[in-house]
């Protein structure tokens, strides 16, 4: 076989690992990314299978069995994580809460992603007046205090899943716009973009098939970061009583409901907080990891 081991550089390049193999190697060697992907995947499965996995109905109250302790604090396996102040099974509420967090995070990130990407790519591609207007709008948006505006609008329109998703989706587009604008500026002067323009490709075609694929990796990173941001904000709004309304099982709401019994039953606050922390941590690690493996030169 030594016959093939020539010093021909071309042949060496052919025999080297393919880009896909390189990427796979990087993914498998990145502990943070693997942890993030694993946890997010697990929680998505749990959220989808909630009706199968939850031992009890998350809405059914059992006032005779209020604040039963979790099994590791001397409770029974009937309620592995105990029950809340209305006797509802805590594990079941936690499992259904994953649906609320993931749904809000994903849809809010999607809405703000569409708005922010459209603005950012337009600003970067067209430049000039379009850029000036978009940059101005980003400045205005950044000047508005997110929590305050979100709370006020949710209070006015009434707290429901749809309103919270809509408000967060309309508020969190700033980072998409900033990053997509900068990324588009970087690619738009590349030769392949000029080439596409020279052969007469229409503007939408240039943007969709030349620009977008080359800034997609940055987009995915921002999607994950904003998803984590939206999940934390929903939890904060619900904690303040102006987000998702009871009896919906939201982790932020569970912390808020457990707060009054916090001194005697601290696990009521600890458990939903830890789950929230782990989910947001996993999404962030996934985003950081994706940035590292797709564009290692952008690592900070």
């Amino acid at each position: 076989m030594s016959v093939h081991k020539t010093t021909d550089p071309l042949l060496e390049e052919i025999q080297g690992p393919t880009p896909r193999q390189i990427l796979r190697g990087r993914v498998m060697g990145h502990a943070g990314l693997l942890f993030g992907l694993g946890v997010v995947f697990l929680l998505v499965i749990i959220a989808i299978l909630a009706p199968v996995l939850a031992p009890h109905d998350p809405y059914v109250q059992d006032l005779a069995n209020r604040m039963v302790k979790p099994v590791f604090m001397g409770g029974t396996w009937e309620h592995p994580l105990g029950t809340d102040h209305l006797g509802r099974d805590y594990l079941s509420r936690l499992i259904y809460g994953a649906r609320v967090s993931l749904l809000i995070g994903a849809v809010a990130a999607l809405i703000s992603g569409v708005i922010g990407t459209a603005m950012g790519v337009a600003a970067g591609y067209f430049g000039g007046k379009v850029d000036a207007v978009v940059t101005f709008l980003i400045n205005v948006r950044l000047a508005m205090p997110v929590v305050l505006v979100a709370l006020a609008v949710v209070a006015i329109l009434g707290g429901s899943l749809e309103v919270v998703i809509g408000v967060l989706g309309l508020l969190l587009w700033d980072r998409f716009a900033v990053v997509m604008r900068a990324s588009t500026l970087q690619v738009r002067r590349r030769e392949y973009v000029h080439a596409a323009q020279a052969i007469g490709a229409s503007t939408p075609r240039v943007i969709l098939s030349e620009i977008m694929p080359n800034i997609a990796n940055n987009l995915i990173v921002i999607v994950t970061l904003e998803m984590a941001h939206a999940i934390l904000l929903e939890a904060a709004l619900s904690f303040l009583g102006l987000g998702v309304q009871p009896p919906t099982p939201s982790w932020g709401l569970m912390v808020s409901e457990g707060k009054n019994m916090m001194l005697f039953e601290p696990w009521l606050v600890l458990i939903p907080g830890i789950v929230l922390f782990v989910l947001v941590l996993a999404i962030n690690l996934m985003g950081d990891g994706l940035r590292d493996v797709t564009a290692p030169e952008n690592r900070s």
């Binding site: 101005f136 400045n139 205005v140 950044l142 000047a143 508005m144 205090p145 997110v146 929590v147 305050l148 505006v149 709370l151 006020a152 609008v153 209070a155 006015i156 329109l157 984590a228 934390l232 939890a235 904060a236 904690f239 303040l240 009583g241 102006l242 932020g252 912390v255 707060k259 916090m262 001194l263 601290p266 606050v269 600890l270 907080g273 929230l276 922390f277 782990v278 947001v280 941590l281 962030n284 690690l285 950081d288 900070s300």
Partner: protein, 305 residues
């Protein structure tokens, strides 16, 4: 330098003007404020009378113009709930929030900058990994939950610190940590990245070649240049933190402007909410303006962009 300042000031004013319009428009999103004011038992005539009294029957732009004109003179109208001038109400509460904001950003800078510098001097060391862990955890920590945990541990179990209120400086310790930790990860990461970049640059090699001591190289040459972007980030974070104080103040029952915002939102007290959104935005606009000017002064290259 002067053209830069004027241009930047013009932009700041335009942003402020737009934000004022948006925060005023919130009132109209709420539907008819007269109905909300009058309460559920009011008759149609009562509502009509209130509408005339407050001038809600006039076109929106007229009302906006009047509101803006009075706001510029420091008059934000009267609170629906407290029946006091909004300006007095906010003025009383703002000092708590400002104290919290200043303490929070100081805490964030005092922990993030040294950690970022050490992490950059010894990349991939245990300290670097610790710094990374602290910042990743900080970004994922729900601040209301972190606050509650601190209250249970240090306020109740150990009894070291008062769990809520704002009467002494000790009441500010836990809120400062919670709010500061929120701003810390971004500052730490930027300090680390800036130091890493600067430490690999030619002038650092020159300074070392000249025989400058390591301390002199790090602090006189490297940190000075790496800290410039941190200054503007700290200003931006300070603006965000004032907005974030709403969560922290309600957890610790600190009666500042953030707590007032939560109270007035829950009570449909729109004049107060409008004024608070405008004031928090103004702080952000002023901080970022000052940061940009400071940056341009420290680094003349910034003036052209």
């Amino acid at each position: 330098m002067l053209p830069f300042i004027l241009k930047r000031l013009g932009l700041a004013l335009l942003v402020a003007f737009t934000v004022s319009f948006i925060s005023f428009s919130l009132l109209f999103l709420a539907g008819d404020p007269a109905v909300a004011l009058a309460g559920e038992t009011a008759s149609g005539e009562d509502i009509e009378a209130l509408r005339r009294l407050y001038g809600f029957d006039r076109p929106m732009l007229v009302q906006y113009g009047e509101w803006l004109w009075q706001a510029l003179q420091g008059d934000f109208g009267e609170s629906y709930y407290f029946k006091l001038p909004v300006a007095t109400l906010i003025g009383d509460r703002l000092s708590v929030t400002m104290t919290l904001g200043v303490c929070g950003i100081t805490f964030a800078l005092l922990t993030a900058v040294p950690l970022g510098v050490v992490a950059a001097i010894r990349p991939n060391s245990i300290i670097d990994r610790f710094a990374l862990f602290v910042s990743v955890a900080g970004q994922a920590m729900p601040s209301f939950w972190f606050g509650l945990i601190l209250i249970v541990v240090f306020g109740i179990q150990l009894g070291w610190l008062p769990p809520s209120g704002a009467s002494t400086w000790r009441h500010f310790i836990m809120p400062t940590i919670v709010l500061g930790y929120y701003a810390m990860p971004a500052i730490m990461r930027l300090t680390r990245a800036g130091m890493l970049e600067v430490l690999n640059s030619d002038y650092i090699r020159t300074a070392r070649a000249k025989g400058a001591s390591e301390g002199r190289v790090l602090f006189k040459h490297a940190l000075r240049n790496a800290i410039i972007p941190v200054v503007s980030l700290a200003a931006v974070q300070m603006g965000f933190m004032l907005g974030g104080s709403i969560v922290v103040e309600s957890v610790f029952a600190l009666h500042g402007a953030g707590y007032l915002a939560w109270e007035s939102i829950a009570r449909n007290d729109l004049p107060t909410v409008q004024a608070l959104i405008l004031i928090f935005s103004m702080f952000y606009i002023i901080f970022t303006f000052l940061a940009d000017v400071l940056n341009a002064w420290l680094d003349p290259r910034m003036r052209s962009s």
